[in-house]
């Protein structure tokens, strides 16, 4: 059981036999575990799988097994298991008899969105749903107890339930959920205002780490991702969109490839893309490679990384199109009068999502029905996209959402591959068309993490205290690209994520007497979008790497320097100390090893990291990474540790990779030129989960932003204080080994 101060330490590395046996035992029985994905359904009825639907969230079957309905998408982050735990905790069923069922957006709509939001992103899955799904579990429990109460004619208050067995002490009677289900399903749902949820100190399942319900299928290969969709009569499509963003497709010469074996057609998909349809993906892709295509690249063809850098640089000192989100004291005077001034410009490139499962979608369109099978973070968005593109009424459309081979924000707000597949399928009514993007297409047609630079100026007094800090980000705005109307008064605060004054979501953890934080919007023609962690990534690099520079200039230890500024932010301090303690910050390191530290807040959670590196020539080896996070409540600690470990890999991608621009187009199109973290590069990761139980913070994204700055700070220490300011590492001739 967890207490308010207990820290959970979970190490990665090879699972010892003991750990394996222990965690298997938690899952136990395990025979009924599984998933129920909707097959192509003719009706909008969600199957009750042979049981009784107590309420929208819970089905109980005669054998006492419980089916829990899950609304969000599983993209490896473990939300399915976590959400099931939330329901099961209140339901008081036998966890070993739980299986999960997902449903389609059409079924959600048909029931007036009883399962609410299906969109998965922003580290929201648990924290946004927890209350109403727990209420769903509690309501179902209450109805089952009421059924027992009615059957035995005893007050509900005299009943006890544990693991789905209901008992009445006075009479000695017992029964089980399976026997009560049919009656319970007929009862009216209790008003959520009439009951309360369990006190976290009474949790039996939440805070434990039951095995994920999808691990076995992933390991034994039986799992089916979107890209594994196979339908009778299916044809394959390979697509190419204009390599220069904003350019147009002029023409193509189908005659050059139409005689090749298996080629069915060459189609114009929209203003900017052409696709080849064939009886195998290989044939479609190979033909597309040699298809003569004429593009009108347009004005953006003259853009390059250099032209973009020039624009960003201008923004760093411009008086135009810039706003201050924080302006405390008088930063100009403070820095002017400072004993020591430190100034730096940092830069972070575009990076690509690089999901292991490239973008794909299978679509089947007829005159009166359109369906897609697609890995998506938002099945309702896929459904809406299909309806929009085919012009069919939404009730005639459906989207099936298998588990994703990576989402990271690429598959949420952008359903471009769904539109494309539906547009192609419209030209082949009745035939399922499986559209797959090649890696090259995927990597060069991403919605990239926005590029940016940051100018930071700090002033220190005689005692080496920070008296003034001026920070200005000059970079591309995601909102300006996807939803400019969401920018209030021309001030895009979202790009300053992690620097906000207000508590709760992504608050700046430092108190500086004179502080100005500014954002200058400088856009590009490159499409941008949310990349796991979104703006906390580059913002943590800018600030936390600079803090080390300032600490060094002050002659102070980086941890001590931060601690002196963080006293008003106890939760930020808490994780900083937790990471420092676990890493043994104050104890000496073996020769040749150096440490770096970073802390930041995002998605409602607090995170800090300490990295240990060594350097040999230009080769950096990251030996160890300690990450501490406070996400409020820890539903499944092992899963949180897994998310932390995954975020380390993703964070290390962004240290060494970039998506650069030449002639208006993306240069890096595959993993040979876009290096991502490899197994041999991975450090030993130690996760410290330090929940304080007084809020619900996110888990999917918060920890990623401290990975890069902690490693970069360690690298700077290893180089005698020489920082890395312009990412990726290769700009300084460095590489991870």
């Amino acid at each position: 059981m967890t207490s308010t101060t207990q820290l959970k330490n979970v190490s990665n590395g090879v699972l010892t036999r003991r750990q394996f046996v222990v965690s298997s035992a938690m899952a136990s029985g395990g025979l009924a575990l599984g998933f129920h994905f909707p097959a192509a359904a003719q009706s909008n009825e969600l199957s009750t799988l042979g049981g009784s639907e107590i309420n929208a969230w819970v089905v109980v079957r005669p054998d006492d097994s419980c089916v829990i309905r899950i609304a969000r998408a599983e993209m490896g982050q473990g939300t399915h298991t976590g959400l099931a735990q939330l329901v099961a905790e209140e339901l008081e069923c036998d966890w070993s008899k739980v299986s999960l069922q997902t449903f389609t957006p059409g079924q959600n709509l048909a029931r007036k969105r009883v399962w609410r939001n299906m969109s998965t992103g922003g580290s929201r899955g648990i924290r946004e749903s927890q209350e109403y799904v727990r209420q769903g579990g509690a309501a179902a429990r209450i109805m089952l107890l009421q059924a027992a109460s009615a059957e035995w004619k005893v007050p509900v208050g005299e009943l006890k339930v544990e693991k789905g067995i209901v008992s009445h002490a006075a009479s000695g009677k017992t029964t089980s959920y399976g026997k009560l289900a049919a009656q319970a399903a007929l009862l009216p749902a209790p008003d959520p205002k009439s009951f309360s949820l369990k006190n976290p100190k009474d949790w039996k399942l939440l805070g434990k780490s039951p095995n994920r319900l999808d691990t076995a299928p992933k390991v034994n290969g039986t799992i089916k991702y979107g890209i594994d969709t196979a339908l009778p009569g299916m044809q394959y499509a390979a697509i190419k969109a204009c390599p220069v963003f904003g350019g147009k497709l002029v023409s193509f010469d189908a005659t050059k490839i139409s005689k090749r074996r298996g080629i069915k057609a060459v189609v114009r998909v929209d203003d900017e893309s052409v696709a080849v349809v064939a009886d195998s993906f290989w044939r479609a892709k190979s033909a597309l490679e040699v298809l003569p295509i004429k593009w009108d690249f347009g004005a953006n063809a003259k853009e390059s990384s250099a032209s973009i850098a020039k624009r960003l640089k201008e923004g760093l000192t411009s008086t135009e199109n810039v706003f201050a989100d924080i302006d405390i004291g008088n930063v100009g005077e403070a820095i002017q009068g400072a004993t020591k001034k430190i100034e730096a410009v940092y830069g972070t490139p575009f990076v690509s999502h690089a999901c292991m499962e490239p973008m794909n979608c299978t679509a089947r369109v007829t005159a009166d029905r359109a369906e897609v099978w697609v890995s998506t973070q938002n099945a309702e968005a896929a459904l809406a996209a299909v309806a929009a593109v085919t012009g069919l009424h939404i009730e005639k459309c459906e989207a099936y959402n298998p588990p994703l081979g990576g989402g990271f924000g690429r598959r949420g707000g952008t359903q471009d591959y769904v539109r494309q597949a539906a547009l192609i399928a419209k030209q082949f009514l009745g035939t399922p068309i499986k559209l797959i993007w090649t890696r090259e297409e995927d990597m060069s047609h991403d919605f990239f993490r926005p590029i940016g630079q940051c100018r930071l100026v700090a002033g220190l007094n005689n005692q080496g205290d920070l008296v003034g800090l001026h920070l200005r980000v000059s970079g591309q705005s995601i909102n300006a690209f996807v939803a400019p109307h969401n920018i209030v008064d021309g001030k895009d605060r979202r790009q300053l994520q992690g620097y906000w004054k207000d508590a709760g979501e992504a608050q700046l953890g430092y108190t500086v007497p004179n502080l100005r934080v500014e954002y200058a919007m400088r856009n590009t023609h490159v499409p941008v979008g949310p990349w796991r962690g979104v703006n906390t990534n580059q913002n943590a690099i800018y600030l936390e790497c600079f803090m080390d520079e300032v600490a060094r200039a002050a002659g102070k230890d980086p941890l001590a320097f931060r601690r002196s500024l963080i006293t008003n932010h106890p939760k930020h301090l808490g994780v900083l100390d937790a990471a420092a303690d676990k890493s043994g910050w104050n104890s000496p390191l073996p020769a040749g090893r150096f440490r770096g530290i970073a802390q930041f807040m995002g998605y409602g959670s607090y995170t800090a990291a300490v990295a240990e590196v060594s350097i040999k020539g230009n080769d950096i080896r990251v030996h160890r990474l300690v990450l501490a996070t406070n996400c409020g409540h820890a539903v499944n600690p092992v899963q949180i540790a897994s998310q932390i470990e995954g975020s380390v890999a993703y964070g290390m991608d962004s240290l060494q990779a970039e998506s650069s621009i030449k002639d208006g187009r993306i240069v890096e199109k595959n993993f040979d030129t876009y290096p991502i973290a490899r197994m041999y590069q991975m450090p030993k990761i130690e996760s410290v989960i330090a929940p304080t139980y007084d809020f619900w913070g996110g888990v999917g994204e918060p920890t990623i932003c401290v990975v890069a700055p902690a490693i970069l700070n360690a690298i700077a220490a290893a180089r005698g204080g020489k920082p890395v300011r312009m990412l990726p590492l290769k700009n300084e001739g460095l590489r991870l080994v």
Binding site: R127, A384, I394, G412, I478, H485, A503
Partner: protein
């Protein structure tokens, strides 16, 4: 959920105890949305029918149809019809006025919706009474943004 958090939730504000002001567009209450038009009066449901899809793709091009039951005579007609959004940066999306040559009020158009919201069709009949219909629309492509 206590009242304050419920209110914050309804306003689409953040996840913690602290409110994050003006980070993103917030939903306006019905009273505040209609006040500039109906003043101290209220609008009643009826006569107006607003048809719009429950799910909208990206919010840039959302078709809608609105009709108002009225004989459209000189004595009994619809003076004006307004389309309002409780979330767009400019709440008034379109307004329509009808002359004596107008027949049945049946209008189709396409609107921009800046995120999931409630769309209002507000009509005033010649007797000065305001009539209302509303529809909730989920704009799905905005959904992966950090905010809802």
């Amino acid at each position: 959920m206590n009242l304050r958090r419920r209110l914050l939730w309804a306003l689409g504000l953040g996840w913690g105890w602290g409110a994050t002001p003006a980070l993103f567009a917030q939903h306006v209450s019905q009273e505040e949305l209609l006040r500039p038009y109906v003043g101290i009066n209220s609008a009643q449901k009826g006569r107006v029918k607003l048809e719009i899809a429950r799910l909208a793709d990206n919010g840039f091009n959302v078709p809608l149809k609105v009709s108002v039951q009225s004989p459209m005579t000189a004595q009994d007609h619809v003076r004006r019809l307004l389309l309002l959004s409780n979330r767009n940066p400019r709440p008034l999306m379109a307004g329509f006025e009808f002359g004596p040559g107008s027949d049945q009020v049946l209008i189709s158009t396409r609107v921009r919706l800046g995120g999931s919201q409630t769309v209002y069709a507000l009509a005033q009949t010649s007797d000065g009474i305001w009539w209302l219909d509303t529809a909730e629309v989920e704009v799905t492509e905005s959904a992966c943004l950090d905010q809802t």
